[in-house]
Symmetry: C2
Subunit: 430 residues, 2 copies
């Protein structure tokens, strides 16, 4: 059974802390293995990638077959259900519209001292998009990663997707085509991350790697961070639903389970001011569960990590919301907008009864790659800014340097950096 | 002697690659030590922090003395030279003016389907600013890290600075006061990063840690990344100067040495289309060197990692600039602005003869915390965005869900996520 807490109970703080501290993922210590794989790929290139792919994916490749051919992508498109392709097109267009608004402006201004300062945004020159294989190989995630990169103007977008035994979800390749990605390698795991970061004879290195993956992928991204950029270390997903008494418990239950069905480590939490709603939702979850194809996963997630928290009022729950810092926050209450305005930490907020998280997962427009496992305290969802970088620009006239230079000289001398000071003073004949 | 290359020479590409690949830092493998320190601080809190501070900094503390008192900060201010304080005030004001322009706008729009989407920026609730001890303890860096956090609206800014043997540069504390930071702990190294990330009895945990440090600090930041946010893993610094024949070689030489004096691992590169300038700068460097207090450091950096590259024309050098992806790029040439416009990868660009990098290091306004060691290919300098996070917002009316819901249902079913599909269809009575 999921945890039931009441904020008015004596032991609430202790129990709530335990909920926050629950480790939903076994942190497998794969770092030593990953270190060796990366070193091997850096040293042997394609040969190492091919060896690991044979070993881990049971797939025999040669360098010419690392890259997925145009013909294969054409065939995947032909194999994909029309309705799903149409839905991916709808999603792509909506994601693009939303993300176009994220493009930041360049800036340049001249102050009263005559100093011109500003910045300029440029797209990262090459990005590698990691797509997991198997059941977590979601075509929607291909769009959510590739479209912002396209909107940013990244000239080279590369995809790596493992194909255990040679198999791949054709819709993943179709989504790549729809997103305009045509450089795809059938490689996964730490070896894919290593190949993207260090490059091989066949795979030119990229400047940044994004996308979710298993423990090996996560450890590899952490290791290559610095050599290349990375997006984030993705953890298990969570939803928090803040609901008042007036909502439909069947709908709330479906939303909780939409999270739970992802992964046994997913977490679904309901916070409400209504004990009646809490009971009704708990019952509705049971009703839904028995009819779900992924009942087993969803049930385990709900029973291990699910929680229902009763609060005196939803306003008083905001502090709890900020401590949970949920990846997804649904607010289904009369004053949803006001409550949302009071929240500091959440990856995405879904307002009102007609905004189930799933609509945002697919076609709302915002990105579904969001900060998990409490990282919404400090991180944002994926967006166009993740594929851009900012170069600051400074220009001084001789007069401007005369105005601001003396302070720079003073600080250089203070910090014992005499050449810093001299590089200014020599220009001012000081 | 620094490397001399000519882009027209046969072996240029090989030599240039070697220049790019030069490892300027010994990657000390301190990870195992750091892992143990972090685990110990997480488990024992203050006691562990105090033990490591005694061992590594030769400083005996008790929990009450971890935090620097207001009186000590007052005393540091009184001990600081007036001229330096005034220069720090100038710098603070100019940094603030520049960074205020980086504050991003919230967004909300409703599309033709009736979907309202957007995002909201909020400040990170708490940030830890690491300041190195010893000679790399720069008051200017305190401002460069703290001011953007202030501008972002971070409510709690904490500083950690090691005080080996109890000593600290009073201007570091003064800069903290000037920047409005008053929660300061005399702790450094991996133990400081661990304390900021995990919290101790005395030090409440923060949500993000920024600031440069030695190999232990860098390894600790890499390890706690995910539990908290981090800015970047800082490496050794570099400058690239792109200069035509009309510039003053003495000034260029001073700028090259301002970089070289930082660190023996710093790198200073001149690219020019004038062999005469190349010779004159090389000679001027020697002239400056013998009069610099930090001659030894600067000379070693220049001789080990310095480079002068001759190119047929500066326009043809842009490809080389992008491959180097310099932290600092000075362009001192007639068409500096046009050349700058063609560059993709640089942390900061300094335009024209009267904009030595040092003016930007201190008082230009832009941040001096910039992507080092070729990371300008994918990363930006520190800024206000590093202290904010974005929450996406979505709202559908019943009609809007009717319009976009079917595509979400199709994708949920396609991905085998039946509860996702149901959470939409149940609202549409489908």
């Amino acid at each position: 059974m999921p945890v039931r807490l009441d904020a008015r109970d004596e032991g609430f703080e202790v129990a709530f802390r335990a909920l926050l501290a629950a480790k939903r993922e076994v942190a497998e210590d794969v770092d030593a293995v990953v270190r060796d794989i990366i070193a091997d790929v850096a040293a042997r290139g394609d040969r190492a990638v091919i060896d690991y792919t044979a070993r881990f994916d049971g797939l025999a490749l040669d360098p010419a077959r690392l890259r997925v051919s145009e013909d294969e992508i054409d065939a995947a498109l032909a194999d994909s259900p029309r309705e799903a392709l149409a839905a991916l097109e709808v999603a792509r267009a909506r994601i693009e519209t939303y993300h176009r608004r994220q493009k930041p402006a360049d800036e340049r201004f001249t102050d009263e001292a005559g100093v011109t300062a500003g910045w300029r945004w440029t797209a990262i020159e090459s990005v590698g998009l990691y797509v997991p294989g198997g059941t977590a190989s979601y075509p929607s995630s291909v769009l959510m990663n590739a479209v912002p990169a396209q909107v940013a103007g990244v000239p080279r977008i590369v995809m790596a997707v493992p194909m255990p035994g040679g198999a791949v979800n054709p819709l993943v390749l179709a989504a790549a085509r729809i997103a305009g990605v045509d450089e795809i390698y059938r490689v996964g795991g730490a070896q894919a991350v290593a190949a993207l970061a260090h490059g091989t004879q066949t795979i030119a290195p990229v400047a940044k790697i994004v996308g979710p993956g298993n423990a090996f992928v996560a450890a590899a991204k952490r290791r290559v961070f610095g050599l290349v950029g990375i997006d984030m270390i993705a953890g298990p997903s969570e939803v928090l639903i803040l609901a008042d008494r007036n909502v439909n418990p069947e709908w709330v239950a479906a939303d909780l389970l939409a999270q739970a069905e992802h992964d046994t480590a997913a977490q679904s939490i309901l916070i409400t001011d209504s004990a009646a709603l809490a009971d009704a939702v708990a019952a509705a979850v049971e009703g839904h569960l028995v009819t779900l194809p992924r009942e087993k996963i969803a049930r385990q997630s709900w029973e291990d990590y699910g929680a229902i928290v009763l609060v005196p009022s939803l306003g008083e729950a905001i502090g709890l919301v900020d401590r949970i810092a949920p990846e997804h926050l649904e607010i289904v209450a009369d004053d949803a907008e006001a409550l949302a305005g009071a929240v500091r930490n959440a990856g995405a907020i879904f307002l009102g009864q007609y905004t189930p998280e799933a609509v945002g997962d697919y076609v709302g427009g915002p990105n579904h790659v969001l900060p998990t496992a409490r990282s919404a305290r400090f991180a944002s969802g994926l967006g166009v800014l993740d594929f851009l970088k900012r170069t600051s620009i400074l220009h001084c006239t001789a007069d401007a340097l005369r105005a601001v230079g003396p302070a720079a000289i003073a600080l250089g001398e203070t910090e014992g950096l005499q050449a810093h000071a001299r590089s200014v003073s020599i220009r001012l004949n000081l």
